[in-house]
């Protein structure tokens, strides 16, 4: 099965005075996995709900496989959806939940297909259980199976992992990617968790106030953010004062290439913690303030004069960086965005 292309053209939607969607354009390639990422209230869920037909846009167009779906009700759009809240029908078993959509289509071999789907999501042994007998992660797996069973043209995932605990979340996230690759359905995934978006998607769209700030591969989003908002929202950034010299910016004594031209000579550069190197040095002007252990990588906060700088270091170096240690700070010359 191959996916179909999805296109959102100039979608607008206002709730009172809030522009949930402000002339949003988004196009998804057939079979592509796109994640919409953004803070709460940025319109990402509204975009997904408009695509699903659960919300009407004030203006704009929804095209799926070249067909105009804008006026079609949700039940005729042929889209599978997994919701943030647990959405399994409480009175039906896992198997009956999965075959619900199939039975509406009057297909034969419903049960066989439903069982196949439960197998795909790895919980065929719980086919006869009711939702309240399943854990949150298992329920979302059944919901995924139910959405995929109808062979939808588009799979919509509305923060399906946000109610789960951390370990299950990572597991299911990877599982979703595996299954999506296997079935090849065009997928739109909405999340506010940047790690989640970067880990699973082919392309990530960062949204802000109803608009798409950048739509690019996870690596591009992370390494060459198009706007300060993207740079700040995706990954943690240090905000360091700098002086512009030609098409470079001098920050803490190091010249860094600029991602976009600066408008004024004194600027604030957004420097990622992994670009900051910290070396113990008795003549250095920095002092280690705090350290936090995070597994193989740890975080060190250094004060340089009035400025706080966060750096990432390999945990085995933590011993030489006790709080109070004088350190020297150097920056890797990777391109930076300006705030």
């Amino acid at each position: 099965m191959t996916g179909v292309a999805v296109q959102l053209n100039g979608l607008r939607r206002t709730f009172g005075t809030v522009h949930a969607l402000d002339n949003l354009d988004l196009s998804i390639e057939p079979g592509e996995f796109v994640a919409l990422l953004g803070p709460s209230g940025c319109g990402k869920t509204t975009a997904l709900r408009v695509l699903a037909g659960l919300e009407d846009a004030d203006s704009g167009q929804v095209l799926v496989g070249g067909r105009d779906m804008t006026a079609l009700p949700a039940n005729r759009r042929d889209m599978g959806m997994v919701f943030q809240a647990y959405s399994l029908f409480p009175h039906l078993t896992a198997l009956a939940n999965v075959s619900f959509g199939l039975s509406l289509r009057g297909r034969s071999k419903n049960v066989a297909r439903a069982k196949e789907m439960l197998e795909l999501v790895g919980i065929s042994q719980f086919a006869d259980r009711y939702p309240h007998q399943l854990s949150g992660g298992q329920q979302q797996r059944v919901a995924l199976a139910r959405a995929l069973a109808i062979e939808p043209s588009v799979l919509l995932l509305d923060e399906p992992l946000s109610a789960l605990d951390a370990k299950v979340r990572v597991q299911l996230r990877d599982e979703i990617r595996r299954i999506q690759t296997e079935v090849g359905t065009t997928t739109l995934f909405v999340t506010h968790d940047q790690e989640e978006a970067l880990a699973v998607a082919d392309r990530v769209g960062v949204m802000r106030s109803g608009k798409l700030e950048q739509l690019a591969s996870p690596a591009d989003i992370y390494l060459t953010p198009a706007t300060p908002f993207v740079a700040e929202f995706v990954g943690l950034s240090n905000r360091l004062p700098g002086t512009v010299v030609g098409n470079e910016v001098e920050v803490l004594g190091t010249r860094l290439p600029l991602l976009s031209p600066a408008s004024s000579p004194s600027v604030t550069a957004l420097v990622r913690p992994e670009s900051v190197q910290v070396t113990p040095d008795d003549t250095g002007e920095g002092r280690v303030l705090t350290t936090s252990f995070l597994g193989p990588i740890s975080k060190v906060t250094v004060t340089v004069g009035e400025q706080l700088v966060v750096a990432q270091v390999a945990t085995d170096r933590l011993a030489s960086l006790a709080p109070g240690t004088p350190v020297r700070i150097t920056l890797q010359p990777s391109p930076v965005a300006l705030a």
Binding site: A52, L54, A74, N75, M81, L104, H132, L156
Partner: protein, 267 residues
């Protein structure tokens, strides 16, 4: 110290039992009296279960019973057909109207039946004109009368499930609104619907004021009428109606118990 506590506990126990016995006597005594009175004539109870003979000897009573049963069934159906989709729709699409709808549904509770009848009389002049004077036309008035109880029951049932998400999930799977109602919402509020129906039946079977003042016949009107000619029979029928309502309410609380238990399991 221990003695004081023991004495206080004994005092409380005595007080509790006294209250219980006094209340028990207060409630049970009328029943005992009714049973005693209705069994004075040994023919009364056997006649009550012999429908052909009953309808021959007390045609008005038989008519009252049939009318009341039909009214109860029709009111329950009409109430469900009107209320369930409305309550679901308000939850899904017009959540701001919830308070207003609740207020309107509770209104009949605050208006005395006699006032209601004064208002209903001119309306029923038209109802009689269009639909005739059948006692079944009371179903419209009764549907309004049971709204407070039925609405509460159904609203509680809907609160227990996430109607919005369930409906959206079903819609995205290809279900039309009819299917959403019939196959997703209703099965999940089944006990709430049953509660609403039982309350409706109990209420309609006990209704007297409106039927009497609008010159219609139902069970209570017939019992009242019968009381003037055959006291034992009227008391026996009253007792049966009471027992029926009692059984219905018992079923209702059993249903509630089961729902609480299944909720506990799922928690």
């Amino acid at each position: 110290m221990a003695g004081v506590i023991a004495r206080r506990a004994r005092k409380q126990r005595i007080f509790r039992w006294t209250v219980l016995i006094v209340l028990g006597v207060f409630f049970v005594l009328p029943f005992v009296a009714m049973i005693e009175f209705s069994t004075r004539d040994p023919g009364t109870w056997p006649l009550l279960v012999n429908w052909p003979e009953l309808s021959e000897r007390y045609p008005a009573l038989a008519e009252g019973i049939t009318n009341s049963l039909l009214q109860a069934a029709l009111t329950a159906v009409l109430m469900l057909v009107l209320l369930v989709p409305t309550a679901v729709w308000v939850r899904l699409r017009l959540p701001k109207l919830r308070r207003l709808v609740e207020f309107i549904c509770l209104l009949p509770l605050t208006i005395p039946a006699i006032v209601l009848v004064v208002g209903l009389a001119p309306v029923y002049a038209w109802v009689t004109y269009f639909l005739g004077g059948s006692s079944l036309t009371l179903v419209f008035a009764y549907t309004v009368l049971v709204l407070p109880y039925a609405y509460r029951a159904i609203d509680t049932g809907l609160s227990a499930i996430d109607v919005k998400t369930l409906a959206e999930a079903a819609r995205s799977l290809g279900a039309g609104w009819g299917t959403v109602m019939w196959r997703v919402v209703l099965p999940n509020i089944r006990s709430a619907v049953l509660s609403a129906a039982f309350l409706t039946v109990a209420l309609v079977l006990g209704e007297f004021t409106i039927a009497s003042l609008l010159n219609r016949t139902n069970l209570q009107v017939a019992i009242n009428f019968l009381g003037k000619s055959s006291a034992t029979m009227s008391v026996a029928v009253s007792l049966t109606a009471l027992l029926l309502a009692f059984v219905l309410l018992l079923l209702l609380s059993l249903l509630g118990e089961r729902r609480r238990k299944s909720l506990k399991e799922s928690a």
